[in-house]
């Protein structure tokens, strides 16, 4: 499972028209592939990463030197079996690991885009992925899989390109951002933008980084990704290397230390402006609003086989939103399966090697692969 820096130069012939009305011409999308594309080119799976993810889904991430964010799910004999499938994962549009985004150079001004980068949407990301898939000469994806914001992309793929996907696995996700989702994101963005080192987005020029702001944004987000039970189980009221309370404001509790550590680790690998743009794209996501008649109209006569998965303790995108998707799909007679996995690990459960989750994904993919004849 080796990672090498792969790029595709897209939009050279035809530009990518964004939802905002702007156009992107000749832009790079960074991606990784695992496994082999078969002769019929019908075993390709697109993995859509979430807000803080990247294209290094499996193997070793060359930036962090840690294993890929989904290395427990993607690999030989794993649920997304690379002996069987050709797995593609691209850095999303607006990301910061090689794909076009705010920290890349604007070919016109020869300077970083920063806040002059156009505001992008989930649909824009998916359209860019479709250009990549076309570039790789794959007519039809066997599956599109993703959790959280990756799940938004999965739902958008099935909505925009139903003829180009056999199956879709939206995980721990929703069809639109709720007021609470937007609220959490806005606090994160405010933390970044009120950091003096953000410099109105021009921190690269000023040789600064809004580290404090971005790490606070990450700390806040992490609280929402775990459940109350998981926090309690992992940390309780345990003290950090002290036998008693210090009666001060340094790190007393282990949970504080954890959040600070995670915040700092994030700053080392993520661009603050990218964080602003991607959270905005997520806030703008409102799939039913894309068509009069909502989800039912969008998925009417859909040939896509859906496998919707949610987690009991996910309070970012609770099961009720997955069920609404399932109900809409049922109403229009679409081919849909649904499971709600029992876990106390919260929203992040899909990243955490949950046995029942793995079994479900593995079984669904394998059964459908044999229906497709491989």
């Amino acid at each position: 499972m080796k990672n090498s820096k792969k790029f595709a130069l897209l939009g050279t012939k035809k530009s990518l028209k964004l939802d905002s009305g702007k156009n992107l011409r000749s832009f790079k999308i960074a991606y990784q592939t695992y496994g082999k594309l078969n002769k019929n080119k019908n075993n390709a799976i697109l993995i859509c990463h979430a807000l803080s993810g990247d294209q290094y889904a499996a193997g070793q991430n060359p930036i962090t030197k840690k294993t890929g964010w989904w290395s427990k799910a993607i690999g030989p004999n794993l649920p997304i079996d690379t002996n069987k499938f050709f797995v593609i994962c691209s850095n999303i549009l607006g990301g910061c690991l090689g794909s076009i985004g705010p920290k890349e150079l604007n070919p016109v001004t020869k300077k970083e885009y920063n806040m002059s980068f156009p505001v992008i949407t989930i649909r824009d990301m998916v359209n860019a992925q479709k250009m990549l898939i076309d570039e790789l000469d794959i007519k039809k994806l066997f599956s599109v899989i993703g959790g959280s914001a990756g799940g938004f992309q999965v739902l958008q793929w099935a909505a925009s390109y139903p003829e180009s996907v056999v199956s879709a696995i939206p995980i721990a996700t929703s069809f639109r951002h709720s007021a609470q989702n937007i609220a959490f994101h806005e606090v994160g963005r405010q933390a970044i933008m009120s950091d003096p080192d953000w410099c109105n987005g021009n921190y690269i020029d000023k040789k600064k980084r809004p580290e404090k702001g971005l790490s606070v944004a990450r700390m806040l987000a992490l609280i929402s990704y775990l459940s109350e039970e998981a926090f309690q189980r992992k940390f309780g009221r345990n003290l950090q290397s002290k036998v008693s309370l210090a009666y001060g404001f340094k790190t007393d509790f282990q949970v504080e230390s954890y959040l600070k550590h995670q915040g700092l680790a994030f700053v080392g690998r993520f661009d603050a402006n990218s964080y602003l743009y991607i959270t905005r794209a997520m806030d703008y996501f409102d799939l039913p609003n894309q068509k009069k008649g909502g989800l039912k109209k969008i998925y009417k006569n859909s040939p896509v086989k859906f496998c919707v998965i949610s987690f009991t303790s996910d309070w970012v995108y609770p099961t009720k939103y997955s069920k609404e998707i399932v109900d809409s799909l049922n109403t229009v007679g679409a081919d849909v399966s649904f499971v709600e996995i029992q876990t106390d690990k919260g929203h992040d459960a899909f990243l955490l090697d949950e046995k029942e989750f793995n079994e479900t994904v593995k079984g669904f993919l394998k059964a459908n692969a044999s229906k497709e004849g491989f």
Binding site: V336, S337, F338, V339, I341, E356, T360, G363
Partner: protein
């Protein structure tokens, strides 16, 4: 028990029909129907583990509860909806029954008959809640909270203007009852009934 139910159901279900198996467990009936019949089969099942097993077998199954989730299916969206040996375990059998006939052109419902002579005799002689192959639980652990007799069931259908198109009765040896006398007194002689319903 289920096996015989399966044969009867297979004979009732027509080729090329859309079928929903409510409470499909690990998908045995759907797999059985898929063999030798062309159906577009779906399942609804309460246990996540069972749903995942169904997915492994290539079935399309939604995790859900018959009491709560049938409402989300549109009217007449299936040719056949099957509720095999589960009605007695639902919280609101009347509501579920009405949902079944709403979402389907025909509903196939089977359940253990509490009016069977076997059960009557057990209760009469022992004076305790009867346990049997079909009802293998103690009264305090049983999921079967709404047991009924065939007569009760027919009354409920009548009350809700649900037509019984076909009925099948099974004897103690799990064979279809053919004897006309026993058929007439089915509420006494059968341990289970299977009904094809329409509204």
């Amino acid at each position: 028990m289920n096996r015989l139910d399966f044969e009867i159901i297979k004979n009732v279900v027509k080729d090329n029909s859309r079928v929903l198996d409510v409470g499909c467990e690990t998908g045995e009936l759907l797999k059985f129907l898929n063999k030798g019949k062309k159906i577009d089969g779906r399942g609804l099942e309460i246990s996540q583990k069972n749903v995942s097993i169904c997915l492994k077998h290539g079935l399309s199954v939604v995790q859900g509860d018959a009491d709560k989730d049938l409402v989300s299916y549109p009217s007449k969206s299936f040719d056949f909806v099957i509720l095999s040996q589960t009605l007695q375990a639902t919280h609101s059998p009347e509501k579920v029954l009405n949902e079944l006939v709403r979402i389907s052109k025909r509903a196939i419902v089977s359940f253990p008959n509490f009016g069977s002579w076997v059960i009557r005799l057990k209760l009469l002689i022992n004076g305790i809640m009867p346990e049997s192959d079909l009802l293998p639980y103690t009264w305090y652990t049983t999921p079967n909270i709404h047991l009924c007799t065939i007569k009760d069931f027919k009354k409920l259908c009548n009350k809700n203007s649900i037509n019984i198109e076909q009925n099948f009765f099974l004897n103690k040896n799990r064979k279809k009852i053919t004897n006309p006398i026993k058929k007439l007194f089915n509420n006494f002689f059968s341990i289970s009934g299977l009904f094809v319903l329409k509204k």
